[in-house]
Symmetry: C2
Subunit: 486 residues, 2 copies
């Protein structure tokens, strides 16, 4: 939060960022770019500083727009869930009970009923859904909320990636039958595609193996992005619950024939991990690189001072700022009394997609200098065409980030047919699996990678493949994906 001075920036500049040492790089860049403050004295709970919070809000805003366009309605449920309500779905309790925070007293007295902090909101919402839904005319019910969830995760915490207080998006839907719930899942996948297009993040959609599905789900789809450090990151999940929770929470409706039926349900979840993916996938040795659609500042104007022309340059920079703001560009004019070089360094660290320099020479030529964060490319452009030029650069930057990341994801997938190759391969390995749980678990252990799963519909030749199960040798047309994960 400190308003950086030349001295403070000079201190920062001494820290050499090296993305090839990913863990150290990640830890340093989240600090240096003022994305979060990790000094809050509760493990796994950091402070959202203004810059990081604006980034999160911009992502949330894209999600809100997607929700409005797809007729989801925003709700906000209480944080605290009564014990009894939490314990109605057996698999769900088993899956979460090791991670749940409990509130058992208040104001010096024990509470009548122990309450827990939601680790996710199924158990808060579904008893209410049972009250809201009466007839088929009430379906589909499409709700979502953006809130925090709390999970006392015992693994090593990492900002945005593994937290105990998690900024969370969750959509919960109820449908007349399994098929309508499947259509919802198609819609969710389309939303994920549009959102990740804006974030320039490519990913695989994989159906998790049964032993790794969401507690209480019929099946779980997960979106896995390839991160540096040779691990994948789960950035979104979509669960088909069938009528499993509906039976536990009595979510019933009267169909057109007057018969009582259980609703079929889905959920779709994402979190601040999207920021973790953006940092990891796009960043470089100079710091963050933020996709233009969600960057808090899409462009930073840096005046290049010249004796005797200070006021003129300052005034032209202000005009430039106004022009861009009026065109809807999120632009910041950096008027700090520090050297331009310090400003360049600072905005590069913070990942601002485009730097706009305006100095005496530009002034003389009625031009401005555009500097792309992703490539470092400098271009002098006509001052009068600046809005169009800036917009064109944003598109180019997004295209470049996207295609670089796509290439890296594709290159990280290795189809292999032998154990040794599967063990040695980096990234994501794609191997033959007969579908048997025992074989899957053995392969996991032997190659020291987790099974991410298979494509959603292997029968529909979404992922054509032929091979012999890596464990039992049985011929199969199913490819399973394995990787080390964050």
């Amino acid at each position: 939060m400190s308003k950086s001075t030349d001295t403070e920036l000079a201190e920062k500049m001494k820290i050499q960022l090296d993305k090839s040492k990913f863990n150290e790089w990640y830890n340093a860049v989240t600090d240096l770019a003022d994305l979060t403050d990790k000094r809050y004295p509760v493990k796994g709970m950091n402070v959202w500083t203004p810059y990081g919070w604006r980034l999160m809000q911009n992502i949330d805003m894209l999600i809100h727009h997607e929700m409005v366009d797809t007729a989801h309605q925003e709700v906000c449920f209480p944080l605290l869930v009564p014990e009894e309500q939490f314990q109605r779905e057996a698999d769900h309790i088993k899956g979460f009970s090791d991670e749940v925070y409990w509130v058992s007293h208040a104001g010096g007295k024990d509470l009548d009923i122990p309450l827990l902090l939601r680790p996710t909101s199924e158990t808060a919402m579904y008893p209410m859904f049972a009250l809201w839904i009466r007839s088929h005319a009430d379906l589909p019910l499409k709700s979502y909320q953006v809130i925090n969830v709390y999970r006392h995760d015992t693994k090593q915490t990492r900002p945005f990636i593994r937290m105990r207080e998690i900024h969370f998006f969750e959509a919960h839907t109820c449908h007349i039958d399994f098929e309508d719930a499947e259509r919802q899942i198609d819609e969710d996948l389309a939303i994920m595609r549009r959102l990740c297009h804006a974030l320039c993040i490519p990913y695989l959609v994989l159906k998790r193996p049964d032993w790794d599905k969401f507690p209480g789900a019929y099946y779980s789809l997960a979106c896995d992005a390839m991160m540096p450090g040779d691990r994948t990151l789960q950035i979104g999940t979509i669960h088909q619950y069938r009528d499993n929770f509906a039976k536990a929470y009595e979510i019933e409706y009267e169909d057109a024939e007057g018969e009582h039926q259980f609703a079929h349900q889905t959920t779709y979840g994402m979190s601040e991990r999207l920021i973790g993916a953006i940092i990891g996938i796009h960043g470089d040795d100079r710091g963050l690189i933020l996709p233009p659609d969600i960057a808090p500042y899409q462009a930073a104007i840096v005046p290049i001072p010249k004796k005797g022309k200070q006021a003129l340059i300052a005034s032209e920079c202000e005009k430039l700022q106004t022009t861009l703001e009026e065109a809807g560009v999120r632009v910041h004019l950096d008027e700090r009394d520090i050297r331009p070089g310090s400003k360049f360094y600072d905005w590069e660290l913070k990942g601002v997609p485009l730097r706009i320099e305006l100095g005496p020479r530009d002034l003389a030529n009625d031009a401005v200098m555009l500097v792309r964060r992703d490539t470092g490319k400098k271009e002098v452009v006509d001052r009068n065409a600046v809005v169009a030029e800036v917009r064109e650069r944003f598109d180019q930057i997004a295209d470049n980030l996207r295609s670089q990341a796509e290439t890296r994801l594709e290159e990280s997938i290795h189809t292999v047919h032998h154990f040794e190759d599967a063990m040695e391969a980096d990234g994501i390995v794609r191997v033959a699996w007969c579908g048997n749980e025992e074989c899957g678990l053995l392969i996991q252990d032997d190659i020291d990678k987790s099974m991410l799963g298979t494509k959603r519909d292997v029968d529909a030749s979404e992922d054509p493949f032929e091979g012999n199960c890596l464990n039992c040798g049985k011929p199969t047309t199913t490819a399973a994906y394995f990787a080390r994960t964050y």
Copy 2:
């Protein structure tokens, strides 16, 4: 959430709303208008349903804009505060310890340090402020967040007015000295004026007596609105902390001379109580009346069907909706297959400021019918001038709500000079008070009303007054305000 049918609405219509019985009315109208769902099984924690949540979000959006305009930066601090950190400011602990929820175990194990759910965020934020602030160049620090706070209040709960999970806005600022903190308070008061202008809520700004100030504050200003049920509602508070918390949390800065100084601090808080005030102050026997600036729907279009012209009317209604949406009006076209009368009833209940009817006669005359929610007044206006006409009605509705409420507030204030009059008077009584705590407390008890306080600066003849203290009889120029409160 249920998509109301004729039958369901007919059930609702049987409930007779009578605002003169305020408590019952308030309870019924919050249910009937789908503002909240009170059936969540934790006392004082309700579900924000889509309609209520949109209303809250619209209010929050006005606050966000005010914060941006006044250079506050949004942050988001963790919910959980370590015990030690909470206990550094003695008065603050004393004030809140009876209401605090404690988290003492997670995943079946005791936590190393007990954590509490923030009842407000001073104790979460200030240790971090101590790290963020180094020099006078870092000041003023102006932060705010919109989050939930948790208070195990033992009084009777009431939706939006007295909850245990509270949707909360809190601004926290740090300044070089007392005077700069005072200037911040002036800015906060100006923000409150602009915000409440939009909400059409008049209020008194009163300096709470010392025995009722915020725990840890040097002084507290509160904004009190006059509600039905003969009680006032505190809808906002602004606290001057001086360097009291800064000393407890070591928030120090180096001044221009290199000397270490403690920062002076203020806070400004508001909550979902703003909705409570809107409901109570503007509503009537037909339901809510929402000020146009924050109504989820500013206008509802109701087609008046006519055999043989159904499709034509429907298509004209769609065109009307598009015209208004393109002009930035939040408009809803009610296409439900229920009687127009049921729709009228429903939108009146929900407080939509303007109803727009379009039927065969309007079609013939190239007109639409506007019906004001506040007055019930019907006016046929030119279809081609509809945007301007609608906007004009919004202004008229807001002006009318504001002036009605202002009149009621003014009429509720009674300046009295005798005990009997003070006891018998309804509303807010304004009486002479010598300034002595003992006298103030005795007057409170004797007239069975709480002291709200005095004007901020009685010396500056903000509130000219002459009288003899109602308890000791000493002559005084200070007027104190008393009322029963929610």
